[in-house]
Symmetry: T
Subunit: 156 residues, 12 copies
């Protein structure tokens, strides 16, 4: 089947995006991402099939990544929330499933200089790239860049 | 005049992109960025006027950022090369000119776990967002996201 | 409905309190807390409705805190066990649900100087107060102090 | 003589509580503590005899603790102010006088993540427990918990 | 009933051993362990009853350890994967259940000098011993050593 | 000649095992190791020829490792005592002689959390595996695992 | 009453300035400061009323600062000696009395690179400015700058 | 020629003082410094000849300091901006030209406790003194103190 | 007057030696020191005139050292208690009074490996020597060594 | 053309060698290097063509290295002065131009134990070798060793 | 046989005391120690039998300590030279032989603040006491204090 | 006797140079050094008399350095292998024998950024210079530079 399967994976405290702290993260939720993707990619948006998953559980995220590996998913857009900075287990999982993954964040985590721990990303060390700071648009830009990466590989 | 002036600013060792280490950074240079922007943004690409500048000098980058401030540039796409990790002076400059700036990198610098120093970004602490790991496409994605950011502000 | 809903939340290794290591933690379990609250607060104890929850899962604790937010719980008494020292995700959750939370510990964790890590509390940085070192009484004191805090707010 | 003698000891910058920075610490001073104790403990409040002492001097605090040891004081409620984080000498004193001591703070010092030094408590490592974050109520809760601790010992 | 119940417990990213990264970990899975035990121990293998459990969840591992405590399991062979280096909660659990536990790893984690974090083992601080670097054989050696340890205790 | 030559090498303070601190290390000495090997390996024990060497001298240990390299020894079981944590020179030697080496310890050194230095193993970074915590049995398990490793290589 | 009350406060080991180590600090003492102020400020010197206080006691310095707050002192020139680097309690006091304070030192403490601790100033974090390195003139320059600061405020 | 030549040297991001961030640094620029000097020093101001230089370039600052050395400048007032904290090369230059230099800052950099790096001054370790926190007045106070220092030397 | 004046100076928590924690420090107090000195030195003991002083106050210790300097005391035996590890001000005082000082401790502070802070001695960096670990005898040995040091100087 | 082009590159504060601090660096300047090379290499000196460049600018050094790369220079002798310890950008440049480079220093920088920062060399991590401590002779030895290295390559 | 056998053990670089660096360590060697002991102890000196040993070898020092253990030596006076700061193996040896040991140094090592490493003593953590800073007299004072310690034990 | 005696001293793991790891260190051994010296120095090579010594023992290296001091050796070329980074005792020895010493390494140790410990050289802090990265030629360059250094001293 033509096109690419892309898993949009969200970690802890990201289940209420659009509802919690709208002054920081805006009032739009993950269900706006497909429209943003269409807006960015136009007709090319038809090449990507998005599936969404969120859980607060570190183990549950690993379970879902393993499932993606079993199902032959082509790419992953991953916002691991606070596990970005603490989960070696998630980094290990990305290392062995070897599905191209783009790390995303709603805000620019590197601008939070008050908490040095938040400047360390275990997830990032196993990703092809990073997009951070553009709210929900970060996800759409990540989908777009994954699509390009996967298309380039395919045509070679 | 409608549209946005965006400065694409490159720091040390980025003057030979497309020529040096093509096995890492590819053989295409900065002159490919406008085409990539058009490819990503379609007709909306007409809304952004790009200017390019590269210098190996830390002070020269500050000079150019001050000039951008004087000229009323609307947004900045900035790859500060190794100064990303060492230049407090550049971070100070971004702090006071307050022009929206997106930090870009050709490769995913957070995946270089062998040199911890490269995980610290002075530049990033003063940027609205980060795009890293997609080669020259990083620049185009940054332009695209800046355009969205600036458009949103304008219509409010 | 008058009075306050208070969630008493326990994290990992706290499901067997009263059964495990009685020489350290005593032989009484969480089911003694309501009696201790009545003993401390007298007739005022009728103002607080306590619900109890324990899980060993970091994600499960976040799920329960989100549920508390959905249900309009007024205050939280939280013993996060070892997650106190390692879970940035739990701290993030407390930050956004903004329900007043009191951190409790059975023993005085700051007296455990042999393990420096145990002197760092991620949970505490998002709590209104801390009560530690009084065994099960710590929970009752925390309930009492939350009741005062919530009563003060209500009367203003 | 039945009942317990409890020393409420305050360190540097705590002599003007109720007068300085009322926006942070409230406008009530230490003279409100007895009333708070009565409010919390009811008729049991008659079991505790409180004495109050404040000095800005580290050595003066040690002098007072030694006097308490000489006089057979039963318990101590101690807010060491900034000496909490810098005075090894006070911790040594608490170690040898072996009178049960509860560390109190008006605000939750562990929430002050901007000054890492304030997360280290020398005093706490020698105390039976900690109560922090409830303003003057912290003192009353500490008295109440000491009374329970001392009562339990007495009846055994 | 004579003999010993031994739980072989595996943590995150160990559910696909034998399938993932065979160039590093070999193509044999956990189901080969009983045969390796028989090979090492000969007829003595009949003295040990092995049960196997794997989960990616930190909380789930604690749940399973608590169950082992409830069921009177005699020994544990534990590969906590990346939680080895990050889970204080698992170490706390091993501390209170006090069932003899041997830490195992497929590869020699101390040889991974590129990631200093991987040289710290929270799990190990609560184990009687460590066996690492021998692939699946590590598990069999751990079973064998537990059997000796338990036999020695029994005969005394 | 069929079979394998294995050097059992002991470093500082290990010359009096069985005599010093019997309450920690037991009263059996290195001369019990061959019997333990026979007990573990049965008739396979005939495949390994053990030689033993102990010295308190860091340089003497390197001399002996160089001799092993000259003599074509097949495997090494090495307890470097305190040099485990301080000798870069021994690690360098293991790196160039490239004889498979298993690090052993009588007790579980990772459980000694009171001395962080003892958690760093220079030796281990150059070994194929580690066995620690089983007293003299650690040596026998190491011999057994080396025999399997060497046998596997031989048959390929 | 017109003009400003300025307290010149000296901490430990500053009671013998002009007598001790004249090769480093010169042979003139604090009693020369008024003349230096007159020399610098000319007739404007009449606007400032100086009072001097020295004590070796950390608590005594806090006592004196509290007294200044009670008496409505307008500005403080403070050389805290070694307490500059160790006294969190003094920094807390400056924070709450909110009287403008200038940190002074006889020598340039930042040039003492041999003792890193001396590069950290707790006092400085609560001062409006710093003057260091000019011997007794540092005090006069500090008085002069306070006078300007206070004059500016008054005329607004 | 009688009197002293003093170079007022400014580093990165100091070219727009009086224009950028007036809420922090005020709206007056470097051209106000001579008037402030006259105000402070009165007729003595005639003894000092000021020259001003600003550049964003680290190398350019060294060039200018070398020129000052060649021209026999008597004193330097130096605000190195962010290079204060990062430029070992500038510190080396001050060390060898051995012209008395006073470090100045518009704001009190030691009060910026949020960025520890800003508490380290390479420049200061090679200066006779420091004046910080008084806006443009810092420069005038530095000129005044240099004049005193140079006058004292001359008369000896 | 022939002979030497020696000040025996004790800091915080040393006022109750002989009374507090006799299981650690023995039941003899400072008043036993003269007898120990006579026992060690025999008739030479007549050469030294001892005076004793104890205070819990850091500032009070500095006051007493300054007095010693004023009175021409020949040598100091100093046990600074916990100030040994925290007081830069006391170290500064010893530096300028330049009276030979011997640091003493009742127990061997370097054997307290559980508190790394106690291994740093500010006092020691300004002393001619150290005697620790011999209880009250430490004082007598220090007096004896000072007497030798002073005698050697005198006869030259 | 036979022989080798070698660039002798000097960084900040090295433009006045032979003039500044002659007591440390001697009174001979860079113009003595060719004679030293001839002295060391004899007639072989004709094989190397030296060009010299010095600048205080970090960017200017990168510019010159890029020019060398464009011109096909065969080897580089590089004294980066203080940039040795701070310039990641120069290290990056050496990494990509891949011209053999020898790091030189006039003095032995590793003997300056008072400034730990000076023990870290970014430049060195990208050089084939280091020669330090021999004054101007360091340069000549570096030229000689580069000539041997280049000659060896050529003849293979 | 009455009296005590005391081993005076010297480590690296102590074989030439009295010959090397006489300006620091004096021109008297270890052979003066017996006379100093007689001078200090008078007729009591007959109670101690001293034997002396020096080696530059870490392993050789351990060999000698083991021999002392075999021979029933009563006390040890130990100057481990630089091994004081680096040898965990020597500390381990002192820990198991459990012969009372006094650490000695010719100079006061804690006054060498330029090399922080020299403030850490592995040896000291296993000694009963420390005497440092009195040249060869340090040894005699250590012998004297050991004699007292051993005598006290004997008479009990 | 005219000319200079130079000791070429090699530490641990350097006894098999030319035999071990020839892919890294080449297949030529120390016996090639004299020829390289003659090649570099021509007829001047007759001025230097080389003696060679290698041992794996830290103490043995100190013994040999002491012997060199006794014999009046004029200069030392020293490759301390891994002891470079761990031996404070060797550094102490170089400090007191005060024979000019040049530190050499076969490879450029500062390029081994993966092991930070290898960037610290205790040996180097006591040497006149360093030559590293040129294989056996490093030794010859070091001999040549020592000869120049010694010749310069002689003619003065």
């Amino acid at each position: 089947m033509a096109g690419f399967d892309i898993l949009v994976l969200n970690g802890p405290n990201l289940g209420y995006i659009g509802k919690r702290q709208p002054e920081i993260y805006g009032s739009q939720g993950m269900d706006q991402v497909p429209a943003l993707v269409r807006e960015l990619m136009g007709e090319k948006a038809g090449d990507v099939r998005l599936s969404f998953f969120q859980t607060n559980s570190e183990g549950g995220l690993i379970d879902r990544l393993e499932q993606a590996w079993n199902h032959g998913v082509h790419g992953i857009v991953f916002n691991a929330g606070a596990y970005t900075h603490t989960s070696l287990a998630l980094a290990d999982c990305l290392a062995w499933i070897t599905i191209p993954c783009v790390e995303v964040h709603l805000s620019n985590i590197w601008a939070r200089t008050d908490e040095p721990l938040r400047q360390r990303s275990y997830i990032g060390s196993r990703c092809v790239g990073v997009v951070a700071g553009f709210g929900l648009l970060s996800y759409a830009l990540a989908v777009q860049s994954l699509w390009r990466l996967l298309s380039d590989k395919q045509t070679i």
